[in-house]
């Protein structure tokens, strides 16, 4: 693997985020900051019932409201706006039925947000309630209310996706033969992405009859495809640009596509720009969440702690629509047994429709759920056998050369053991574990817990896995990049910049990466699954290498030598006569030679094969690994849990942008901490109870402890410079590490998330009476301010003074 052991100039070295300056100055523009002349404001009429038939929908009264310019329903879209991937089951606006509280039914565009709301309120919409389904575990009962679309294959319509299997050997007979079998049930609740920027989209009609959409989505090309399909436009009349995105975490896919189609249609009808911006309340009610999951695990082992068999069943509550949950269920199934060796394994995960909002992609994508189950069960086994939890994991965890439960041989880039041994050392595990095991009965007890994880890289067997990139030298000698994979806060634009700088041998300051734009970038699949660094990075590397070849040719021509004789000193080229020639001169010469100074790059992931029917094969090209230790203090009188410190050691291959990688890890751990202890979305009779940040609590700066993070750089030969990925894996082991620490402190297992005050103190949750009010208030929030038209000054300067230095 010599190609990435060479010293690097920019990759892996301290660097700054390319968009940080604009952000710290307050100059970065998010959708809510855009002002376009003539812009209309859009708002949706949303369902206030969890399941109902639309018996009457009359928008004509809304059209009579002063200021209202257009109103649309599903009738305004091709095929009623049916979309969705991998399952087409959702409409851009509800058609015939609504299946969750908050589902959009109609959309209004008006001169002001106030008029848009008045228009929404004027729409005549009669909903006839249908029997609703809220219990995922009952979804496949023969008499369960039908939520999912009709099926012709005789299977239950509430079954959203087929069984997701992993099969190795005969788990039942292996378990029957095991002296120790743990049989446990777990539940993980819904989680809200809680990006601090609520959803928003701006659509501008183009003179050609097309549409330009500014959408903070993750994957602009999917949005473009949906828009073309549901608006009936050719792709080349639909352009999607991603502006600065205020966080996403998997959350700005479908909900943004839907809003995009709505505002695009309204813009096409009115011939004016249309913008829709959600309030926080609307965001919480309308947007998709991390699925809730019911899990049943049986783990068999020998008395010496050797794991032998894992049997796992999961029911994933995906709510009213599929979104990406069939893929979530698949990823959950692949990771359900954890990063361990087994003789036999039997995993089956399925995914059902209910009327509880709807679930979609969220950082970790099924793995945080199953990791919570398996890592607690393994920990419990260690407790039961009197074996140190890290020792038990070291005894059983996957190592180089092992075959996974799926039948995949791990031939390289395997740093799990090093993660575990490092986290043991830096957390002072052995001393603390012993000390806290001897605690006398005090009000506040400490505990320390560990969890490990592995996470398949990129899409795996979900689908085609490729990315493209472009690079060009502009007339002012700056370098321009595009990528089909996007940056919604993750730092990938900086990663691409560093890779291009490395390959081209120019300073990063010379390089600028464009905002993702379907007109200029190369379609690269979705920006999901932590795939951007590896897929997009390799594509960028290929593009830069292609351009470098051209420039090397020009340099060789100018310096009258073979390209192989060229040496680089900084940006300059040096030939056999040892005189340094500035990079600009080489560029000039290349142009004189008539060479084209732009290039494309494409990279495709290595082919893998997964047999869905038999649950065997190679689900992912490779894996990232990690181990986290959490130290907690539990107030035994109140159930209040403080996380005192977290140590995290992750094998992510070569680190390309260190500051960004650490940031991803800290941030993911923080989301995992929230998932573990405080974040709770309650759908009660289908009505969400948490509609703003006073009730949906995410960790504040005083809830998060100091985090000690370290990377194991176990190079992956297919990764750029040996890189793997970090975004999702960071949060996967946090909740089970905290759970195991709580169990260590209290001697009690909490098997449901979040581990709130009640669950830690009592062992079970308590719920206040269900209320429909929060959702109803959320959908009727009235804007008071009126955004002033662009360019109109309402300010009178009383007296000009000099600007103040702060």
């Amino acid at each position: 693997m010599s190609h990435f052991t060479q010293p690097t100039e920019y990759v892996g070295r301290p660097a700054r985020r390319v968009d940080a300056l604009d952000k710290v100055m307050g100059r970065a523009k998010y959708i809510a900051d855009y002002r376009v002349p003539g812009m209309l404001h859009a708002r949706c009429l949303r369902s206030t019932l969890p399941h109902a038939r639309i018996v009457r929908l009359d928008v004509t009264p809304a059209l009579k409201v002063p200021g209202v310019r257009a109103v649309i329903t599903s009738e305004d879209f091709v095929d009623h706006g049916l979309y969705g991937f991998p399952v087409k089951d959702k409409y851009m606006l509800a058609y015939q039925k609504v299946r969750y509280v908050g589902e959009p039914i109609a959309a209004v565009a008006a001169d002001t947000p106030q008029a848009a709301l008045a228009g929404v309120q004027a729409i005549v919409c009669e909903l006839e309630p249908l029997p609703a389904l809220f219990d995922a575990e009952r979804a496949l009962d023969p008499d369960a209310p039908q939520v999912g679309p009709d099926r012709t294959d005789g299977r239950h319509p509430n079954l959203k996706s087929d069984h997701m299997l992993v099969c190795k050997g005969d788990a039942e007979s292996e378990l029957a033969d095991c002296p120790i079998v743990l049989d446990r049930r777990y539940f993980t609740d819904w989680q809200e992405h809680a990006y601090i920027e609520p959803e928003g989209v701006l659509a501008i009609p183009t003179p050609e009859g097309g549409i330009l959409v500014y959408a903070p989505n993750q994957s602009p090309f999917i949005n473009q495809g949906n828009l073309a399909m549901t608006l009936g436009l050719p792709h080349n009349l639909v352009r999607v640009i991603q502006p600065t995105v205020g966080g996403s975490f998997g959350g700005k896919d479908d909900i943004i596509y839907e809003s995009s189609a709505q505002v695009a249609k309204l813009a096409l009808i009115t011939g004016r720009p249309v913008r829709m911006v959600f309030s926080r309340e609307e965001s919480l009610v309308a947007s998709y969440k991390r699925d809730a999951m019911h899990m049943h695990i049986r783990l068999g082992a020998d008395r010496d702690g050797t794991l032998r068999a894992c049997w796992f069943r999961g029911i994933l509550d995906s709510g009213a629509y599929a979104s990406e949950t069939p893929f979530t269920a698949w990823r959950a199934s692949i990771h359900a047994m954890g990063a361990y060796r087994y003789k036999a394994c039997d995993v089956d995960v399925y995914c059902v429709y209910t009327n509880n909002g709807y679930a979609g992609a969220f950082r970790g994508f099924g793995n945080p759920e199953v990791c919570f189950a398996v890592e607690q069960t393994v920990d419990e086994l260690a407790d039961m056998l009197g074996i140190d939890p890290i020792d038990l994991r070291l005894k059983n965890c996957l190592r180089l050369g092992d075959e996974t439960a799926h039948g995949q041989k791990l031939t390289e880039s395997m740093g799990l053991v090093e993660c575990l041994t490092t986290v043991r050392r830096i957390s002072d595990w052995d001393r603390k574990r012993a000390e806290y095991s001897r605690q006398t009965d005090t009000d506040k007890r400490r505990g320390i817990g560990v969890a490990i994880m592995y996470h398949g890289m990129s899409l795996g067997a979900e689908g085609a896995d490729y990315a493209g990139a472009t690079i060009a030298v502009l007339p002012d000698y700056s370098v321009d990049l595009t990528s089909g994979l996007t940056d919604y806060g993750t730092g990938s634009r900086t990663v691409f910049t560093l890779i291009a700088a490395e390959e081209l041998g120019v300073r990063p300051e010379r390089i600028r990466i464009q905002r993702p734009d379907t007109n200029t970038a190369i379609e690269s699949g979705p920006t999901v699954a932590s795939r951007t660094t590896v897929l997009g990075g390799n594509a960028m590397r290929a593009a830069a290498r292609n351009l470098r070849q051209t420039l090397d040719l020009a340099a060789a021509d100018l310096l009258r030598c073979d390209p192989q004789q060229l040496i680089r000193v900084g940006e300059a080229y040096v030939g056999p006569d040892e005189e340094a020639v500035a990079w600009e001169k080489i560029v000039d010469h290349a142009r004189e030679m008539g060479l084209i100074l732009s290039a494309h790059g494409k990279w495709e992931a290595p082919k893998i094969v997964w047999d869905h029917h038999h649950g065997r094969g190679t689900p992912y090209m490779a894996y990232v690994y990690g181990a986290q230790v959490a130290e907690v203090e539990v107030n035994m009188r109140t159930g209040s849990t403080q996380v005192l410190h977290i140590w995290a050691v992750h094998d992510i291959g070569k680190v390309i942008f260190p500051q960004g990688a650490y940031g991803q890890l800290y941030g993911g751990i923080t989301q995992g901490l929230g998932y573990a202890l405080i974040e709770q979305i309650s759908y009660r009779n289908g009505y969400i109870q948490e509609t703003n940040f006073e009730s949906y609590l995410i960790p504040t700066s005083v809830d998060v402890p100091e985090i000690t993070a370290q990377f194991v750089e176990s190079a992956y030969s297919y990764g750029p410079y040996g890189a793997k990925n970090i975004a999702e894996p960071s949060l996967v082991p946090t909740a089970p590490a905290i759970a195991n620490a709580i169990a260590h402190a209290t001697g009690r297992r909490v098997r449901e998330l979040p581990m709130n005050l009640e669950r830690v103190l009592l062992g079970h949750d308590l719920q206040p009476p269900a209320s429909t009010k929060p959702a109803q208030i959320a959908l009727s929030i009235a804007p008071r301010s009126m955004p002033q038209p662009a360019g109109q000054s309402v300010v009178r300067h009383a007296a000009a003074t000099n600007g103040r230095r702060s």
Partner: protein, 158 residues
């Protein structure tokens, strides 16, 4: 109604309805969109500005309440040459920025802290940020950046 106030050192008068918030006034009437709306109920701190020397959630200040006040927004925080000041530069250098939507509020909270407490401990920095939610960073590099700025400013003061 006519609201007169000082924003980032500039005295201005603006005609606006009495029932809008200071956040609305800044964004919709003064076109100062660096101040963000994240929740509109005082829970997230994205709209933090400094009003008469104190950090406030501009979504919980009625615009006319700011009449006669001195407001500093993110647009008023910069070095004399218009570039980033030391705190902003440290946010860049310490990797405190990811998606960036909370960052203007974080910088205002950091400046407000350092005005009142030039020698904060890390825990005091965390407490000063307790009303500013960040979903990306886990706060650690933000605390690093503020801590570094405090130390640098102490050094400058001798």
């Amino acid at each position: 109604m006519l609201i007169q106030l000082t924003v980032n050192g500039e005295t201005i008068a603006v005609e606006a309805p009495p029932d809008i918030t200071l956040l609305d006034l800044l964004r919709d009437y003064l076109n100062l969109t660096g101040t963000k709306e994240g929740c509109a109920v005082g829970e997230c701190g994205a709209c933090s500005v400094i009003m008469d020397g104190r950090l406030v959630n501009s979504c919980l200040v009625l615009a006319p309440q700011a009449d006669g006040s001195e407001i500093v927004t993110i647009e008023g925080i910069h070095a004399p040459d218009g570039g980033p000041n030391d705190l902003q530069q440290n946010f860049i250098d310490y990797g405190a920025v990811q998606c960036g939507i909370c960052i203007p509020g974080m910088i205002m909270a950091g400046e407000a802290l350092l005005m009142h407490n030039p020698h904060p401990t890390r825990q005091e920095i965390r407490m000063a940020l307790a009303g500013n939610l960040c979903r990306c960073t886990g706060y650690q590099q933000i605390v690093d950046a503020i801590e570094a700025t405090a130390k640098q400013r102490q050094g400058e003061m001798g």
